[in-house]
């Protein structure tokens, strides 16, 4: 480690409210660089949204944080622990759960079994929190997950990720292709969830983002071009960055 | 003209090596390497260009070999005609099975081909025993007539012939890689949809790749038949199904020199180790594992940058 490290640690201690910190992150697919010097901070209980067009690198950012992609350089720390170089299951176990956008649940397994797997790594078998958020899952417990509708799948995905009370939830396009009623339900759920965890959401649905986010990062061509916080998180302000 | 000229340099260098090998290495080895390179070129094209991995190449090898063998055993004596017939048989065979097979992808393609090889094996060994003579095989070395200029019944003349054929095949693939068709193959390998929406037919592209590659394989089979003067169903046995794929990957997938490098290395390793110690399987097996662990570029893929570096530096020094 370089000698400057303790100083940085000290800095970290000062900033200790930040639960997830990304600094100077550079990521590439093959030789094509996708993310450039991304800086991002998430404080406990915050909802942070990343907006940007398709292909801007939002999903790549989440995947890099979750450990599915190996960054070229930069640092990702969670609670002062360096995440770079860790296996993604390790990162998930530490409480940073990634919910991909493909809505692929384990279709051969029942809803119950899907949840069991969510509980397995964290040993948290308290499913009431899940069924509180998503009462509908209770009825579907013994249904094969493959037979669920898109909205129910998304509920299940989120449900199995929040087991073990993760510190940070990385949610990729949660409302894509879902009916408005489910979107508004999810909106409420996110509002509830932020009491326990920090949320990083990649989303294109501006009304939703504006309603729940504390901070918005606008990403374009792999760079953060604007950081908005507090009052400025408004649809009309965000729009140009999309 | 300039184009053609430049081409020959490439071909020349690769095969000059083989010609040099001819002086230092025993003739049977060189012959084997050349035929095996042709055999592998088809597989390499299929794997590297069109993205098909096939564990059934021996089926097409046997198609060519048996077609040639039937001709030389029952009908005629001219080895050149025999080889032509082998090539034709290869085309016919791949046109028959191709439309069924190329719709499958990936592992399934590999395995239906394996199934074809096994079926072929039992057809030759049992079902068609009346004309193939089963495991006894057909031997016709003495039937092969001496031809003027290049007498294929003599190994040293055969070497020259096989050498020229290999140059031709190599040049053909080199040309093919440069054509639009070659580009289409690569395109179809990674992005079927886009190929479709550019208006090309994936099916036709793949079928053509299948036919070209397997005809090459059949040609290698014909050469084997003429060279050995003998065919038997053993050549399609499932034990040997992986050979061309192993050599392809060993040499380096998708490179033009890969098949040659692979064939030299594989045959060389086998013959050398087999000569030194009886238990060649042990060494080959672990060598394969080691090579796979070391990298996926294969021999040529690893060698190429090194050679380039070496030669370019020398070149630079000279010019200074």
């Amino acid at each position: 480690m370089e000698p400057g490290m303790p100083v940085y640690g000290g800095l970290m201690a000062m900033n200790n409210e930040e639960i997830l910190t990304v600094r100077n992150l550079n990521v590439s697919y093959g030789e094509a660089k996708v993310l450039f010097d991304i800086d991002l901070g998430v404080k406990p209980g915050q909802v942070v949204a990343c907006v940007g067009r398709n292909g801007a690198g939002k999903s790549t950012l989440l995947k890099s944080i979750a450990g599915f992609l190996k960054p070229l350089s930069g640092s990702i720390t969670c609670d002062g622990v360096d995440l770079i170089g860790r296996m993604s299951y390790d990162i998930a176990k530490m409480g940073i759960k990634y919910i991909p956008q493909d809505k692929k649940v384990f279709s051969d397994l029942t809803v119950r079994e899907n949840l069991e797997l969510g509980s397995y790594a964290t040993k948290d078998y308290n499913w009431d929190q899940v069924t509180d958020y998503f009462p509908k899952l209770k009825e579907l417990m013994d249904r094969k997950a493959g037979h669920l509708s898109g909205g129910e799948r998304q509920m299940l995905m989120i449900g199995r990720a929040i087991l073990g009370s993760p510190k940070v939830l990385l949610i990729d396009e949660p409302t894509e292709g879902l009916a408005p009623s489910i979107v508004s339900h999810l909106k409420t759920v996110f509002g509830e969830l932020k009491k326990k965890s920090s949320l990083v959401i990649v989303e294109q649905n501006l009304p939703l983002i504006c309603a729940i986010s504390d901070k918005v990062y606008a990403i374009k061509e792999g760079r953060i071009i604007k950081e908005l916080a507090g009052e400025s998180v408004k649809a009309n302000i965000c729009e140009p960055y999309l | 003209m300039m184009n053609m000229f430049r081409w020959w340099w490439g071909i020349l260098l690769a095969f000059l090596l083989l010609a040099v090998l001819r002086v230092f290495l025993p003739l049977p080895f060189s012959n084997e390497v050349i035929i095996f390179s042709i055999y592998t070129m088809g597989c390499s094209f299929l794997l590297g260009r069109a993205g098909f991995i096939s564990f059934g190449q021996p089926a097409y090898l046997a198609t060519g070999a048996y077609a040639t063998a039937f001709y030389l055993f029952y009908f005629g004596t001219n080895p050149y005609i025999g080889i032509l017939i082998g090539i034709l048989a290869g085309i016919v065979m791949s046109l028959i099975v191709g439309p069924l097979f190329v719709r499958l992808r990936s592992d399934y393609f590999a395995l239906v081909n394996l199934a074809l090889a096994v079926i072929m094996f039992y057809m030759l060994q049992k079902v068609l025993v009346g004309i193939t003579k089963g495991d006894n095989g057909l031997w016709f070395l003495t039937n092969i007539a001496s031809t003027p200029v290049l007498d294929l019944s003599r190994p040293n003349h055969f070497y020259i012939f096989a050498f020229l054929v290999a140059i031709a095949v190599w040049a053909f693939y080199k040309y093919l890689n440069d054509t639009l068709y070659g580009a289409c193959c690569l395109a179809s390998k990674i992005n079927e949809d886009k190929v479709k929406f550019l208006g090309y037919s994936n099916f036709k592209i793949r079928l053509t790749a299948f036919v070209i590659a397997n005809t090459t394989t059949a040609l290698a089979g014909s050469l084997y038949a003429v060279y050995l003067g003998f065919v038997s169903p053993e050549m399609t046995s499932s034990h040997r199904a992986a050979d061309p794929v192993v050599v392809t990957i060993l040499g380096g997938v998708g490179t033009l020199y890969g098949p040659i490098a692979g064939a030299i290395a594989y045959t060389g390793m086998k013959d050398l180790i087999s000569g030194l110690i009886g238990n060649w399987e042990l060494v080959i097996g672990f060598l394969l594992v080691f090579i796979m662990l070391a990298g996926e570029k294969g021999i040529w893929g690893t060698l190429e940058p090194l050679l380039k570096k070496l030669l370019f530096r020398k070149n630079a020094l000279k010019s200074e």
Partner: protein, 438 residues
Amino acid sequence: MGVIFNRLFIEDLKPDYLNQKEAQMKKFLILLSILVFVCVFGYGNALAANPDKIKVGILLPLTGTFAAVAETQKEGALLAVEVINKKGGLSMPWGKVQIEGVVADDEMKLDVGVRRYRYMVSEGVKGVGGQTWAPLANAINAVVSKEPMPYFPVCVNAKESFLKGKLADSTFSAAYSPWTVGYMAGTAAVKTLGKKRIFFLARTDSWGWDIRDGVYAAAKEFGAEIVGYDEVSVGTPDFTTVLQKVRAAKPDVFISAQFAGDAIALLKQCHQMGLNKEMTIFNSFITNVVGKGLPPEALAGVYGMHYFYYDLSDFPDKEVAKSAREFTDLYRAKYNKPPDAYATIAYVAFGEMFRGFEAAKSFEPTKVSAALMANKGEFTSVKGPAGWRQDHAAAYKYAAFLVQGKGAGDRKNEWDLFKVLGYQGGESVMPTLKSLGY
């Protein structure tokens, strides 16, 4: 070199290259002519005419299904080499010539076998022997008939290969064809053992079919009935379904044409299914490898024809018993085990090759061939008098011994596997020369 490499890997020409076009064309032509020169005239090896040391090739499937048998053949061949070398070498007109045995693995694959054979030729061997698997012997014989070389296949060659014109002039088969094996087995089963109902299990190649023809010929001649027939391919691990059919056919004797590992598997499964109690099991050509590989109880009572069983102490012909014992002692001294059938074939074959060299006073294939065929081709083998026939097959007075497997209780030592009950041999067990087109 670098220039050429540039041309290979750099797609775009540098302009100055264009100007050198003619110079390069010259270079190209020079290279091409070198190439052609190398190709056409590079071949050929000058070797001393009267060497004081020669090489002989021993080419066997040391890997593959027949590896176990090939191992014994290798031992037999190397013993034959050693015997000559101990005497100082071959007695040639220019002095003693030592022999070196070059062993290679043909892997039971055609292309590999022919390639390794050609390696041997390019290494300058003076004679080659080997093969366990007949098709490969045929392939090499074909090469030999193009480019003569004293060649001594030590396997049981297909009957077809003995047809006039098929076997090369310099190929000598120390063993007979499978037809003879079948005929001997059939004769022994029907005539000696008095069995009248035969189930025959062939192998799907010339070995199996020739034995079948031989057995059928014997059955016809001595009045037995074939009640069932089936065939399996070499390397079949599981015979049980076929054995079900055998049981259902209720024969007196079950004759099988399996060999080496296949025979072991078959006999073991026969025993497991209790067929031994219901019928006589007759494995047409048995070896010690098979006997040793089987549990004693599975071998007990099984009949078979044995090319050479080492323990001939009870054999009526004391002459043969003596030479057999001498050979066995020699073999035991080197390998600490008695010789097996195929080791003996190899020993006989290589012995004959060396006799041929000495008699011909040369390594010329044609001369060796003529020398071997002189004096009606008669020679003496470790198992008694023998002779080369016109078809280059060896005819023995004692072509094979009828043996019966011993159970655990009857065995005196680990190699005490069989009891010799009789023999078959002479010209009568061979296909007539006329039928072969002579």
